[in-house]
């Protein structure tokens, strides 16, 4: 199971890198007069509302769906992990201040928070990446802090403290190497959440803006074709589902999955 889902995930990421090179047509070229065409040999995924090749569009769209979610997930998971370790190692006022700030952030419903930000700042890719990163940092923080608090009480951390090592050395040298698995699992989860959030925003017309288009945006722009049962609506939606479900199943079947399950 882990192997099969891992292969699917790897394939999705390969698409994000090599997709444009594999695409038979450029993403913006109108190749057919037939809009919302069904699947055919010439256009395996049919054509969209302007008569563009859906296969090429999905291949190009992978860059936006995966390419925007990945840095956001890295930022969220990285910041959450570092701050969580900091809170656990330092404790006291730093821990209290960080934890209360994260509590506040986590009490905003994610989609509503992003709607407010998009209303104020528009939806450039930078804004989208940073918003998603800020929204999902508290989740990573809570898990990292919980694991790091446990680790701080272990003998090897006490020994490091007794040797006179500084906070940073303890965080990076003693604690971080022992929480790789929960951090990786959490990173996968954040990635899925961020893909779903950004796709939903694009679906509402408030995410990636045309002429750029991610998979969520493709569902939106082709929604008119739904009544004709056009593959142009279904294919990008299914592409998102394949990506998110396989990442989630991969995480679920990883060895050592149980470690990170506390807290959040």
């Amino acid at each position: 199971m882990a192997l099969a889902t891992g292969a699917v995930v790897a394939a999705c990421f390969a698409l994000a890198v090599f997709g444009p090179a594999l695409a038979p047509h450029a993403e913006g070229t109108i190749v057919s007069r037939n809009i919302f065409a069904p699947m055919s040999a010439a256009f395996p995924f049919g054509t969209d509302y302007l008569g563009r090749d859906m296969l090429s569009r999905v291949l190009f769209g992978a860059r936006f769906t995966i390419g925007v979610a990945l840095p956001a997930a890295l930022l969220a998971s990285g910041a959450g992990t570092l701050l969580g370790m900091l809170a656990a190692v330092r404790g006291g006022a730093i821990d209290a201040a960080l934890s209360r700030a994260m509590d506040t952030l986590i009490s905003l419903p994610t989609l509503i928070f992003s709607l407010v930000v998009v209303a104020a700042l528009g939806s450039s890719i930078t804004v989208l990446v940073l918003t998603a990163a800020v929204i999902y940092t508290p989740g990573s923080y809570r898990i990292a802090r919980a694991v790091a608090v446990d680790l701080s009480a272990t003998d090897f951390v006490k020994a490091a403290r007794a040797r006179g090592e500084g906070g940073l050395a303890i965080m990076l040298g003693e604690i971080l190497p022992n929480m790789v698995m929960p951090v990786l699992t959490d990173f996968g989860l954040r990635f899925v959440f961020i893909v779903l959030l950004l796709s939903s925003l694009s679906f509402l017309g408030l995410g990636i803006q045309p002429p750029d288009s991610d998979w969520g945006g493709m569902v939106r722009e082709n929604i008119e074709g739904l009544s004709a049962g056009a593959p142009a609506v279904i294919v990008p939606a299914v592409a998102i589902a394949i990506l998110t479900v396989s990442v989630n199943l991969l995480i679920d079947n990883l060895p050592g999955r149980r470690i990170g399950r506390r807290g959040d």
Binding site: S107, V192, I223
Partner: protein
């Protein structure tokens, strides 16, 4: 130490013993109110970052300087941000959330009817989802480790990790386009018959339920399985109690707290789902209003909608916490 809180109340409260339950509840409610206040600061600050002159935006380029000055004074634009925040908060507390920048109508009027529609959608979804999710979650816990449990697990993981708009579009494709059983848009006329009402709500409620159902079933199963791991359950197993009786008579009464907690927390997922579902089905609810307000950058409306959603969310999380607190005395030791 738990008996000090349950039996004696405040009078037998000793130093070092956990505080009485009432104090804990008051403290938890106070924390929620503080969080709500912090959230209101974030929402206000977020929407005030907007560059440009709001008065100019409302009146357009052709406005006279006098009109601009008058509107700026009326909107308190000359005042520092914190004072404007206090004005805004004071207005919100008195049901006066300002006027829409787009059509000049009072935000309270715009929000009012939409809120009722959204609450109705949420209520129907809750009524449909909770019994189903409990049934599936509890049976999966009874037959844990079997093929049934594994199928439920894979299906619910898949459902949780798929965007709501996929269900919504698939549902429209299958039931409205192919089978023609149900309308694709959810427009209820005044004085509609019960059958018409049922048909209009079927698709939005079904798609909204699906996402929450999966979340709730998973959390219910997890809560029960946790209880099933305790030693008194092991004792019952050794005594020869059959699985169904074991779960229903031995484990479930003790898992009621965590399960109720899971139900309340899952319901908070309604808030994300409702945004998508109302948009897909053109349902005249609060979320659709907010999405439209974001597209037109109608800030007073965005602020009011965001505050309503955040309040609802905090309320659900508060209920979940209080249920857990009441059901499990061990949580009171903190």
């Amino acid at each position: 130490m738990a008996e000090a809180t349950t039996a004696g109340g405040a009078r037998r409260h000793r130093i070092g013993a956990p505080p009485p339950l009432a104090a804990l509840i008051v403290r938890r409610v106070a924390v929620s109110l503080l969080l709500l206040l912090a959230v209101s600061v974030l929402v206000f600050a977020g929407t005030e970052m907007l560059p440009g002159d709001v008065a100019q935006m409302i009146l357009g380029q052709g406005a006279t300087p006098q009109a601009l000055a008058g509107l700026r004074a009326a909107l308190h634009l000359g005042e520092p941000a914190w004072l404007r925040y206090l004005h805004w908060l004071w207005g919100l507390l008195h049901g006066n959330a300002g006027h829409s920048l787009v059509n000049g109508m009072s935000v309270a009027t715009l929000v009012g009817r939409r809120l009722v529609n959204s609450l109705r959608l949420a209520l129907f979804t809750t009524v449909v989802t909770v019994p189903l999710a409990l049934l599936v979650g509890i049976t999966a816990a009874i037959w844990r480790g079997t093929a049934y449990d594994r199928v439920v697990n894979i299906l619910t993981v898949a459902t949780v990790s798929v965007p709501e708009f996929l269900f919504a579009t698939l549902a429209v494709l299958i039931f409205a386009v192919r089978l023609r059983w149900l309308p694709a848009l959810s427009l209820v006329m005044r004085g509609a018959s019960f059958a018409e009402l049922l048909r209009a709500y079927a698709l939005p409620v079904a798609t909204l339920s699906l996402a929450i159902f999966a979340q709730m079933a998973r959390m219910t199963r997890a809560a029960l399985v946790n209880t099933l791991a305790s030693s008194y359950v092991e004792m019952a197993v050794l005594k020869g109690v059959r699985p169904v009786r074991l779960v229903l008579r031995h484990a479930l009464p003790n898992a009621l707290g965590p399960v109720a907690n899971a139900v309340a927390l899952s319901l908070s997922f309604l808030l994300g789902g409702v945004v998508i579902v109302e948009t897909v089905f053109s349902y005249p609810g609060l979320a659709k209003l907010m999405v439209d307000a974001v597209s037109t950058r109608d800030m007073p409306l965005v602020q009011a909608c965001a505050m309503i959603f955040c309040t609802a969310y905090l309320l659900l999380v508060l209920v979940a916490d209080l249920v857990a607190l009441l059901a499990n005395p061990r949580l009171r030791h903190r």
